[in-house]
Amino acid sequence: MHELSSEARGNLVWTLFSRYWKPLYAYYRSKGKQPHDAEDLVQDLLNHLAANSEGLASCQPTGRFRNWLLTCAANFLVSDVRKQRARKRSPRGGTLSIDTLRSISGIPFEPAEQIDPDRAFRDAWRRTILANAIAVVREESRQSSNSTDFELFFDYYIRQDDPHPTWEELASRYQLESWKVAARRADRIKTRLAQAIRDELRASVSSDEEIDDELRDLLQ
């Protein structure tokens, strides 16, 4: 079997943690685990998956990776693997800790009390996809020196100001000639965000044809 290089393994560990730790954390919290225990579980599970990364990297997934990972999370709770404290067996390429990720990507979504664990996982998953897609678009806007479009989009659709600004107020704030111009410029970002969302979804399905199905499933 093809063996991953240390660098490739490190990249895999990083990808696993940065993309999927929040849905897993939300799942374990909804299972009634205290924050510290939930963090330990996520850390152990992802490091275990990374330690067995040959199989993970070489497999051709069928169906949705999201469902597979959710099954792993459920099994991990009761498996012997966890009892062996997988993080003690550090994979080459290094382990990552929740603290490291928290420092760069913020506090995870905390599920509401008594929310169904599967639903908590899915909700955190879709918020992670959305946050990642928005981050990509924001970075692109910065690099293209067109950050006003992004700021308009962000102020209107994301920022939870009270009172919420009108398009006219945003046009004034960014010194644009009319509210229609402001709305149109924010729409450019929505167009780009649509593609960024599809790019994010593509990472967790086995074919482009499954993207719409995955999205439809996430929106149910």
Partner: protein
């Protein structure tokens, strides 16, 4: 890195769904086709002039009741002016690929509200038309499953529009 996660975490479920629904594959042509097909099937008029004409001839400034959509009118506008502006906005929403799940749902709810207003029949008829078109767009663009009653609304909308088409003989 600014904390985008906390901003996204503060969004309501509806807002998250609204933004994620942008990711459905859809070309400009696909988005416009849904509404144009319905208009064509029902009115033989893909430009939407028939719908705009219907709205502009209502006595009630019914467009003023549609809060979620971003159109504005001056306080001195006549009902016909308000409705004409609303008609253009509704059509833009129905054919634009930028229109989100939430906006189309708002339009469908608006249509239902208008259809049940205790006012003249023409205005209530307009409400049915808008609801039918919005539901059709929701189904084709976002894969939204329709209740049997909704499917009936769409079919009835087409039938009613056909019967209202100039020269229609049944």
């Amino acid at each position: 890195m600014n904390d985008l996660s906390s901003d996204v975490a503060s969004l309501s479920d509806d807002q998250v769904e609204d933004l994620l629904s942008l990711g459905f594959s859809q070309s400009d042509e696909d988005a416009a086709k849904t509404t144009r097909d319905l208009l064509d099937q029902a009115t033989a008029d893909t430009s939407g002039d028939w719908l705009k004409s219907l709205l502009a001839n209502l006595d009630t400034p019914v467009g003023a009741y549609c809060g979620p959509l971003p159109f504005k009118w001056s306080s001195g506008s006549s009902p016909a002016d308000v409705n004409a502006l609303a008609g253009r906005t509704f059509l833009e929403v129905l054919v634009s690929p930028q229109s989100s799940l939430a906006v189309l749902e708002s339009l469908a709810e608006y249509g239902q509200m208008v259809a049940h207003l205790p006012i003249d029949q023409s205005t209530r008829f307009f409400g049915c038309v808008i609801r039918g078109m919005a539901l059709s767009a929701l189904r084709s663009r976002f894969g939204r499953a329709l209740e049997p009653a909704d499917a009936t609304v769409i079919a009835a909308t087409i039938d009613v529009l056909k019967s209202a088409r100039p020269g229609f003989t049944g």
